[in-house]
């Protein structure tokens, strides 16, 4: 049988989708996160590396890794650990399980949402209405803080609901809800210290404002060629309260000028600490010694191989510092309004059940269609089309990096369901009375299909925003599915049926 271009379009879309999902059959465990001060990190092991072997024992799945580690570090003596990854080898001497997390190599590029993977999710509402810009700040600040805590695999995004309320949605895979609650309720303790004495702290109104997005008091102040590239200097102004300025004057009064630096700076640095972790150290200009200054210029530099790299680096450092300084001074409180967690145990079982349910449902549908139309070729065409739709939805989801959560899966089921309905319309239209030309009947069938598409699309759009976007997944997968259906798979299906009917 010769296939028309519509069928070829479906086959190509199907192949591309399978490619986007790209099942992987590689064994081993992939490093999900690794502590920056761990010996293995210093040796060069990074997130994303695939571990194949530890001390000559093959590591096929995550359980193997846990087994080897439990046996190795039964008592905390120094052990030699040989790690073989896909591309390299590392040798370290350690006395405890390496500070990293691993997981099985993902079989596909389909990402699953938190409610399937396990982890914690919090929906956070600021106690006052925020502008879009303030929401972006809040997200930057929160990202910064979670990074300080070394929590990887965290997703923070802003969501706005139908009534214009703004929320921040934080999702952390594998974290416990209490971790997340602690983090958020802590508010972020920011302190600037000189010689271990607090000069100013966040939250206590010491910092009245931080200059940003205003070229007159913040920006990159020039670049110069240095050995091996360029360096760019940035500066921005922060405003301190009278009290903090006086504290600064009292502390700096007793500090000598560091002659080694050419007499420009004081001997002690200003240390910036976020939740008791050092995030940056700044030199203090000699002009500030003993001065009650409410305006302080914070300066730093960025380096790079080219001038552009250096400029970008300087901008990034400046932005980070500004965020750190603002972190301690969020002018509003945050409230957790929704906290969800799902144990991965139930998650794994759940995926298997869903898979089983989907397969059996599709088989049952195939059987009904076989009984109703008594044509094995057409029943197979129905199943093939539905399967292609499923593959295309999953492929597009993998391509745009969409996390499939429970609402997304419900959306996929709904799409396959309505898709089947429309295939039946097409099937029936073609087989019905032969008074009209096949082409005209096909046209009428596609008219119903297009009308149904338009109504479904319109009725789904509000879900995109309703409920703080928690049901976005449903709207996204359904819209992908019905659009692929109406553009690719339904025309192809109509073509296949037409050819089968013409032959018989």
């Amino acid at each position: 049988m010769k296939w028309g271009w519509r069928v070829w379009a479906l086959i190509i879309a199907l192949l591309l989708s399978l490619l986007a999902i790209s099942p992987s059959f590689e064994s081993g465990v992939v490093v999900k996160s690794i502590a920056k001060d761990s010996p293995l990190f210093e040796q060069g092991l990074r997130q994303g590396a695939i571990i194949k072997e530890i001390n000559r024992k093959p590591i096929l799945v995550a359980e193997d890794y846990a087994d080897v580690m439990n046996k190795l570090f039964a008592n905390s003596t120094d052990m030699r650990v040989d790690v073989v990854t896909k591309d390299s080898k590392y040798v370290v001497f350690i006395n405890q399980t390496p500070d990293m997390t691993v997981q099985n190599v993902p079989r596909t590029r389909i990402k699953t949402g938190l409610d399937i993977q396990g982890g914690a999710r919090a929906l956070i509402e600021p106690e006052q209405k925020l502008t879009n810009e303030q929401l972006q700040d809040l997200i930057a600040v929160s990202n910064n803080r979670l990074n300080v805590f070394g929590i990887s695999d965290v997703k923070i995004r802003g969501v706005t609901d139908l009534s214009g309320n703004k929320f921040m949605l934080i999702e952390v895979a594998g974290a416990t809800p209490s971790d997340l609650q602690d983090l958020i309720s802590k508010q972020g303790k920011f302190e600037a210290r000189i010689n271990n004495q607090t000069v100013f702290a966040g939250g206590s109104e010491d910092i009245t404002s931080v200059c940003r997005n205003d070229a007159s008091c913040a920006g990159v102040r020039g670049c110069t060629p240095v050995q091996g590239g360029y360096a760019c200097n940035f500066a921005f102004t922060i405003y301190l309260s009278e009290e903090a300025a006086r504290r600064h004057a009292n502390i700096t009064r007793g500090i000598d000028v560091d002659l080694l630096s050419g007499g420009q700076y004081l001997k002690a640095n200003l240390s910036l600490l976020l939740d008791d972790q050092l995030v940056d150290e700044l030199l203090i200009s000699r002009d500030l010694k003993g001065q009650v200054a409410t305006q302080i210029s914070i300066q730093g530099s960025g380096n790079g191989a080219t001038q552009e790299d250096a400029l970008n680096d300087a901008r990034a450092s400046m932005h980070r510092l500004q965020t750190v300084l603002i972190t301690g001074s969020l002018p509003y409180k945050l409230k957790i309004v929704k906290l969800d967690t799902i144990a991965p145990l139930l998650g794994g079982e759940f995926v298997r059940t869903l898979f089983l349910a989907g397969s059996v449902a599709l088989l049952a549908v195939g059987l009904i269609i076989l009984i109703r139309y008594r044509n094995i070729k057409e029943s197979l065409a129905v199943l093939f089309t539905s399967f292609s739709e499923l593959a295309i939805i999953l492929g597009v989801a993998a391509l745009i990096g969409w996390n499939l959560d429970l609402p997304s899966i419900a959306g996929i089921l709904a799409t396959i369901g309505t898709g089947l309905d429309q295939q039946i319309i097409i099937l029936d239209e073609t087989r019905r009375s032969r008074e009209l030309a096949l082409k005209a009947r096909m046209k009428r069938a596609l008219f119903v299909v297009f009308s149904a598409y338009a109504t479904a699309l319109v009725s789904l759009l509000p879900l995109y925003w309703a409920g703080a976007g928690l049901f976005k997944g449903f709207a996204v997968t359904t819209i992908i599915g019905i659009t692929a259906g109406v553009l690719i798979s339904r025309p192809a299906f109509a073509d296949i049926i037409k050819r089968i009917e013409e032959k018989s």
């Binding site: 309004v337 449902a361 609402p407 509000p462």
Partner: protein, 295 residues
């Protein structure tokens, strides 16, 4: 065969207007029940904790949900517990507890009761604040309303005349009203997902109504044969959907409260859709076609 069709035809010709009375009574009963329900409960549905705010704790383990529920009721009168089981073995793998109490209160009470500490490994905790829940509920109602109006507009643009569009919209409306009434009679508590299922229902319901309208108004043959032709297609569509959803419901029944509720609501809605499309909408269209002398 020919005689059969004739006698069927005349039976339908004689009774179709009376069938409409049936539709009106059914719709009136459903609306009346919802009004009664509203006056008794202050809302047209029983909301579950995802819409009122509260806590759900899921724990792995084979403890009896009845015992846990009874023990918890002393402190939390609204607490409910249900089991979760493995679909293949039927073995209980866990249970979940729901209450409007705060997450901390419920968790510590449950820990005391079970004598184990609840951690990320053996349990999961979800809570929703009551202010947020009521705003979710408000927004989803708006979403259903916008979806319904949007659907109506699109139908109107496609079919151009008010009558044809209205008969489709009326059938969709009747589907939702009757489904809601039955849900209330069954005492089901509706969750966020349940309201999303109602949205999905709009999409499913409109498919068959559009098919019928297109066939009756643009088809060939007598009006009755157009309706019976559309019926064959439409009932296959709906039955296929019912079987697929029924099978899925069977599998997720003990496993996911969310999907269980969505599928149950869709099943109920599809059942009513058979009635509303093939009794109500078909009769309305026949009446319209005969009045306009469409052939």
């Amino acid at each position: 065969m020919a005689e059969n069709t004739v006698s069927h035809k005349s039976w339908y010709d004689r009774t179709y207007k009376y069938q409409l009375i049936l539709s009106v009574i059914a719709l009136a009963l459903a609306l009346g029940y919802l009004a009664f329900f509203y006056s008794a409960n202050g809302d047209i549905i029983h909301k579950d904790i995802s819409l009122t705010g509260g806590t759900t704790i899921t724990v792995s383990g084979a403890n009896s949900p009845e015992e846990i529920q009874n023990a918890l009721r002393a402190r939390f009168p609204d607490a409910t517990a249900r089991s979760i089981s493995n679909i293949r073995t039927g073995e209980q793998i866990g249970f979940f507890v729901e209450s409007t109490a705060s997450a901390e209160e419920l968790k510590s009470a449950l820990e005391e009761l079970l004598g184990v500490k609840l951690t990320q490994e053996n349990s999961s905790v979800e809570f929703t604040g009551s202010a947020l829940s009521s705003s979710f509920y408000k927004q989803l109602r708006i979403a259903v309303l916008i979806a319904f109006i949007g659907m109506g507009l699109v139908v109107f643009v496609i079919f151009r005349t008010p009558f044809r569009s209205l008969s489709i919209i009326a059938a969709g409306f009747a589907d939702i009203v009757m489904t809601l009434a039955l849900i209330d009679i069954l005492g089901m508590q509706i969750s966020l997902a349940g309201i999303v299922a109602l949205l999905m229902l709009i999409g499913y319901a409109v498919d068959t109504d559009m098919l019928l309208t297109t066939r009756v108004l643009r088809g060939e043959g007598s009006i009755n044969s157009r309706i019976s032709g559309a019926f064959k297609t439409g009932i296959t569509m709906t039955l296929t959907a019912i079987v697929a959803i029924g099978v899925s419901l069977f599998f997720v029944y003990g496993n996911s409260e969310t999907l269980r509720q969505m599928f149950t609501i869709l099943l109920i809605g599809l059942g009513f859709d058979i009635f509303n499309t093939w009794v109500t909408n078909a009769a309305l269209l026949k009446w319209y076609a005969e009045a306009k002398r469409l052939t």
